[in-house]
């Protein structure tokens, strides 16, 4: 489903300074697989996701989704994305926001209505659906953003810190939702700091440190708890600074 092949990415801070965000990233995610991407802050996880969605472009290397190059809009026809700390149009109600999201993917009004009701109920937003998002709590906004990412029933779901800003009840809702996506045969790419959730939900996990993929493997093959493995990989990478 997803292929990164020897991808490099640097950011230019000014005329002289460049920061290497990713180095020789080669990574693949199979169809119907739940892949967890973990790493310290600033490791390159969000960069990886933004490259996948053509929000930024690689300096070299290739990225494909279902065989389509990532810089071709067709690759994103069946993709749903939840960014980290999403801002959503707070002048809209949740219903309106989901309708907009659905229309962006060419859904009919009838299909949007049906799917919206399902998602709003599942994410406990049905009572607040007609209120403006500007009056929502952080957790409600996060859940609205997740609903918008799923409204069009995407094949590939990309979640960047899906549990961010959620209370334990909210986290349970999202956890169950991701488990449901997994059971439904969706491909899910999750970037998260919540390692216990990654361990429980994911089929495979990749650890990125300082722009390099230092480890990737099946969760069922782990001989250590994921947190210990994570710390070991980070220590081996020589990372001393906590960002």
């Amino acid at each position: 489903m997803i292929e990164f092949n020897d991808v490099h990415k640097t950011y230019r801070l000014d005329r002289q300074k460049k920061v290497t965000a990713l180095t020789s990233l080669t990574l693949s995610v199979s169809s119907q697989e739940v892949f967890g991407c973990i790493g310290p802050n600033g490791a390159g996880k969000s960069t990886t996701i933004k490259l996948l969605l053509d929000l930024i472009r690689p300096d070299s290397g290739s990225i494909t989704i279902n065989g389509h190059p990532a810089n071709n809009e067709a690759s994103r026809a069946r993709v749903g994305y939840l960014p980290e700390n999403p801002y959503i149009y707070d002048f809209l109600t949740a219903s309106e926001y989901l309708a907009y999201s659905g229309r962006l993917s060419g859904m009919s009004p009838a299909a949007i209505k049906l799917r919206s009701e399902e998602l709003l109920t599942k994410l406990k937003l049905d009572q607040a659906a007609k209120r403006r998002i500007s009056g929502y709590s952080k957790g409600m906004q996060q859940r609205t953003a997740i609903a918008a990412a799923l409204i069009h029933d995407p094949e590939l779901v990309v979640l960047d810190e899906p549990m961010s800003g959620l209370d334990p009840l909210g986290r349970k809702l999202i956890f169950d939702l991701i488990a449901e996506l997994k059971a439904g045969g969706k491909t899910v790419f999750i970037s998260s700091h919540v390692l216990t959730d990654i361990e429980r939900l994911c089929d495979r996990v990749g650890i990125i440190v300082q722009g390099s993929l230092r480890y990737q493997g099946g969760v069922s093959e782990l001989t250590l708890p994921l947190e210990e493995l994570f710390l070991q990989v980070v220590a081996e990478a020589g990372l001393s600074e906590v960002k």
């Binding site: 809009e73 067709a74 749903g80 999403p86 801002y87 149009y89 809209l92 907009y100 962006l104």
Partner: protein, 266 residues
């Protein structure tokens, strides 16, 4: 897809409190037009028309500067653009959709201002029939249409500037400067070219010529004098102005699309 983006943009503008503030300001200015008419002893209709059209232009300009620019700047700053661009939505379509939404907002505002202007002029005529003279509401309508064309072009320019500027404040400055320069180059050029200006340096003359050809000529869309004085209209000239506005807007938007396609959304 295009309609969805345009509609959301229109809604965003409509639900922006600044639009209501600007509309209220325009209403107050129209009221002032009625008040000022009481102090004019003749050609009340001409003065009232001029004031009403100036108020409409000012209000429409404020919407471009304070609503249009804010909408685009927030899109980039808050990354709300991610929702659309993470789908199979071409960047060109997104930008054009945003433009169409802003154009729709401007159209709704101009319609409202046209109603307000017409009501103001009719009221002034009612109050001071002896001093009003004659004003063609048809010309007032036409003048509003051309104000709208001005704002379409200025909106396209503000979108281009938002893609190259480092902040919304710089976009605001660039858009305002372009408006000011574009509104005055024709008059300045005529002044420079008129007799008795041999003491103006060639460098200044060249600068004025460059500004005239580089910046959009907003004076082409200014029909205040035509409407106020009931002047005859030259349909060829007006047709050219509309085509000029359309062509310039398309050119500016095309450049904006090219820039937006290359932009990294970090």
């Amino acid at each position: 897809m295009l309609r969805a983006i345009a509609w959301i943009t229109f809604l965003e503008g409509l639900r922006n409190k600044a639009v209501y503030g600007i509309s209220l300001l325009a209403g107050l200015m129209m009221t002032f037009t009625v008040a000022i008419s009481s102090m004019i002893m003749r050609d009340v209709g001409k003065v009232a028309t001029d004031f009403a059209l100036s108020s409409a232009t000012f209000a429409a300009l404020l919407v471009v500067l304070f609503v249009g620019i804010t909408i685009l700047a927030r899109d980039m700053e808050r990354k709300t653009v991610y929702l659309a661009l993470s789908r199979a939505v071409p960047r060109s379509r997104y930008l054009v959709g945003r433009f169409l939404g802003l154009a729709l907002l401007q159209s709704a505002l101009i319609l409202l201002l046209l109603v307000a202007s017409s009501a103001t002029l009719l009221l002034v005529k009612q109050l001071y029939p002896s001093f009003f003279g004659s004003v063609s509401l048809w010309l007032v309508c036409l003048a509003h249409l051309f104000i709208l064309q001005q704002m379409f072009l200025l909106t396209a320019l503000s979108m281009l500037f938002s893609l190259v500027a480092s902040s919304s404040f710089v976009t605001f400055l660039l858009t305002t400067l372009t408006w000011l320069i574009g509104s005055s180059t024709q008059e300045v050029k005529l002044l420079i070219e008129s007799a008795g200006t041999d003491n103006i340096s060639p460098a200044v003359k060249l600068l004025v010529q460059l500004a005239y050809y580089l910046f959009p000529n907003f004076a082409l869309f200014d029909l205040k004098a035509t409407a106020a004085h009931g002047l005859a209209i030259n349909t060829t000239s007006l047709g050219f102005s509309l085509l000029y506005g359309l062509g310039y807007s398309i050119a500016v938007l095309s450049v904006a699309v090219v820039l937006f396609r290359r932009r990294e959304l970090t």
